[in-house]
């Protein structure tokens, strides 16, 4: 439920929370008599997974984690006692979290730091945990550099990003996505986080990342994407909309209506769930004011959208992710190392060999 409300955000956090929940399920589980643990457990897990999918479409990383978990459950040595089996599974889950999420993040941040040089101007978009770690580590390693955080509606995730970076003492500029081409002129590198990386070298990331990558590619600025290997998917997506056509259970298209703040209030750009939070944020963060201040026109536009449901020809589209093509990505940083995006299928293959050899 937390996950549906958007309280738990960020790919890694969601995955870890989900795996924790599954650990609880496993611990509470008791094998019915005359049934094999591995098969029955799998059928018990299925409704749980369905519930999660109903709350919010599942991310690719979580899909991978679930596939891994099901494979683990299916290959449980049959002679194990129930309690041992449960303990074994929980230990495996812990291992997965620590190896492929936590340690991977640490490895990525170490590699990323090696790519941050003195005098760099690094552009990043919205908020990615991996990028935050890299920038923080580089700052602590003594590198002198500037960061430009670009941000966009509806979530304004970049705000959390710049606040955290400034708290660490970094030199940060913050701008909306419309300042993209201006920021790119002075940029030396672009660092982006990713939701998933695909077999054709494309990167799925927060909507808006593709714009940043395209502009950087045009300006000859290298684009570095940080992504743990458990987020690598064997899928191939050609553009941001076609996921449905591939029979993808993820519904990447979420329709969220934009509601206007009730009448007397000075109109502000809003979106539904974080309405009150936004109002407070505007009060406190003065740096956000220039952006929040596109008020007059914004209020009028949103006023006419408030009854969008009644307008049959109008549909609002709020995409959460977009796809950055392979050519625009210079390098993918994963715990395996720094590789070109064309090597993603190679890494997937190597990991598959590893897990099948076990």
């Amino acid at each position: 439920l937390q996950y549906a409300e958007g309280v738990v955000r960020g790919g890694n956090a969601r995955c870890v929370a989900m795996l924790d929940a599954f650990k609880a399920v496993i611990n509470d589980y008791t094998t019915p008599p005359a049934k094999a643990l591995n098969r029955d457990l799998e059928s018990k897990l299925r409704p749980q997974i369905q519930y999660l999918v109903d709350c919010r479409p599942m991310g690719i990383n979580m899909g991978n984690a679930i596939k891994w978990l099901k494979a683990r459950v299916a290959t449980l040595p049959p002679h194990l006692e129930e309690a041992e089996a449960k303990a074994f599974l929980c230990a495996e889950i812990d291992g997965f979290v620590s190896e492929r999420i936590a340690l991977a993040s640490a490895a990525i941040s170490a590699l990323g730091v090696s790519k941050v040089a003195d005098g760099d101007v690094i552009v990043t978009y919205a908020r990615a945990g991996a990028i935050e770690q890299i920038l923080r580590a580089a700052h602590h390693a003594g590198r002198v550099f500037r960061v430009v955080v670009l941000d966009a509606r509806p979530h304004w995730e970049g705000r959390t990003m710049w606040k955290k970076l400034v708290a660490e003492g970094l030199d940060v500029s913050y701008a909306g996505l419309h300042a993209l081409s201006y920021s790119m002129r002075g940029a030396t590198k672009v660092l982006l986080g990713a939701h998933a990386c695909l077999s054709n070298g494309a990167v799925i990331a927060r909507a808006g990342s593709a714009l940043v990558a395209l502009c950087a590619h045009r300006a000859n600025v290298p684009v570095l994407v940080a992504c743990e290997t458990y987020k690598f998917a064997e899928r191939v997506l050609l553009d941001s909309i076609c996921a449905n056509e591939l029979g993808d259970p993820d519904d990447l298209v979420q329709v969220r209506p934009s509601r206007l703040a009730p009448g007397a209030e000075p109109p502000r750009p809003v979106d539904a769930p974080t309405l009150e939070a936004q109002a407070q944020a505007h009060g406190s963060a003065s740096a956000a004011a220039p952006l929040g201040g596109q008020v007059e026109g914004g209020g009028n536009v949103l006023a006419c959208l408030s009854d969008w449901r009644d307008v049959k020809e109008l549909r609002l589209l709020n995409l959460v992710y977009d796809v950055t093509p392979c050519e625009c990505v210079t390098m993918v940083i994963s715990e395996v190392g720094m590789t070109p995006p064309t090597s993603i299928p190679v890494i997937i293959r190597e990991y598959r060999q590893d897990t099948s050899a076990r």
Binding site: K115, A117, P222, G337, P340, S343, V346, I347, E350
Partner: protein, 340 residues
């Protein structure tokens, strides 16, 4: 030296051994590429080593490898060759716990590695020769033993008739070293200035160069001027081929030219560009000195002696290696296989 743990009596015998290693290295270097000479030195070191544990052996080897890396202008290929060899050693150490057995295995693998690397050039020549068509004019730059072997093989065994254009601007530069064996091999050679490559490419059909190092994304680090040549070739639609042994594959990933210059400067992983009598190899020799001494006189001329550049993978059509004819994106595939 950083790994030598304490003890004043220890450094002197090590120094002697290091000196011996360097002498032997210089001797080998006459006939072979840097990496193979380095491997030979490391093998000799293993045979003469007095270490009694695998760890001790590894420490000695690492120290020697570090020393060799700093010594030569061919630092990059030496560094990558040494790193590959050290990985063999480490893997063997993991597989065999008995010291003597391990040492024996390492020597065996080292010999195999050395032979494999020596045969690499012949294999590359075989693979690359078919790309030189009859009547073609091949443009090249710098002196690469691999390119030389390829051209000679194509002319003699492959029986192809082609001409070679060498782009070389310096009177004593490496291009001249390349010209004489080619002429002796019966291949007509034309020399042009490096600034004339755009003109020369109009009548050339393909470009073939060697590399000092092949990086993770399939790009190459090589003699300065190669990148320009690649860009012009791409603009004019001429294929750009690189001939390189697989031990030159390094796990570096430069993003731009600045990354490669800084490798040379730090002299860390890839060896300083010792150069011939120049104070600094790849680093800018001007700015700092210029700023300091120019205080009273006004502006000073800043001279940068750049010896290496980085050619991005999208300018390269194919790489001829002993692992096969690879596209730049396949290099990363091979590197992952080599290192994991």
């Amino acid at each position: 030296p950083a790994m030598v743990a304490g003890g004043d009596a220890a450094p002197r015998p090590r120094d002697e051994r290091q000196q011996a290693a360097l002498r032997s290295f210089s001797a080998h270097l006459q006939n072979e590429p840097g990496a193979i000479a380095a491997i030979k030195v490391l093998l000799e070191l293993i045979q003469s080593s007095e270490a009694t544990t695998i760890m001790g052996l590894q420490i000695e080897l690492q120290a020697a490898a570090d020393l060799l890396r700093q010594h030569e202008a061919e630092g990059i290929s030496i560094a990558s060759g040494c790193e590959l060899f050290m990985r063999f050693v480490t893997r063997t150490a993991l597989d065999h716990t008995d010291y003597d057995e391990c040492k024996h295995k390492v020597l065996q693998r080292g010999e195999f590695f050395k032979e494999h690397s020596t045969r690499a050039r012949a294999r590359i020549a075989e693979l690359g020769a078919p790309f030189l068509r009859d009547g073609a004019a091949v443009l090249t730059t710098g002196y690469s033993r691999v390119v030389l072997a390829l051209l000679l093989h194509a002319a003699s065994v492959g029986k192809r008739r082609f001409t070679v254009v060498i782009a070389e601007s310096h009177a004593g530069g490496p291009g001249h070293q390349l010209a004489s064996p080619l002429l002796e091999g019966g291949i007509p050679v034309t020399m042009v200035d490096e600034s004339a490559v755009a003109v020369a490419l109009e009548s050339a059909q393909l470009v073939l160069v060697g590399a000092e190092g092949v990086v993770e994304n399939g790009g190459i680090i090589s003699k300065v001027g190669t990148c320009q040549l690649a860009m012009i070739a791409k603009a004019m639609g001429r294929p750009f081929y690189v001939a390189s042994e697989s031990f030159k594959f390094v796990r570096q990933y430069p993003l731009n030219q600045a990354d490669v210059l800084s490798y040379g400067e730090r002299g860390s992983a890839l060896g300083g560009g010792g150069g011939q009598g120049e104070p600094k190899g790849a680093a800018a020799s001007g700015p700092a000195g210029g700023a300091d001494s120019g205080g009273g006189d006004g502006l000073q001329l800043v001279v940068r002696r750049i010896t290496r550049d980085y050619t991005a993978p999208h300018y390269i059509n194919l790489l001829f290696t002993d692992l096969g004819v690879l596209t730049p994106s396949a290099v990363s595939d091979e590197l992952i296989k080599l290192y994991y």
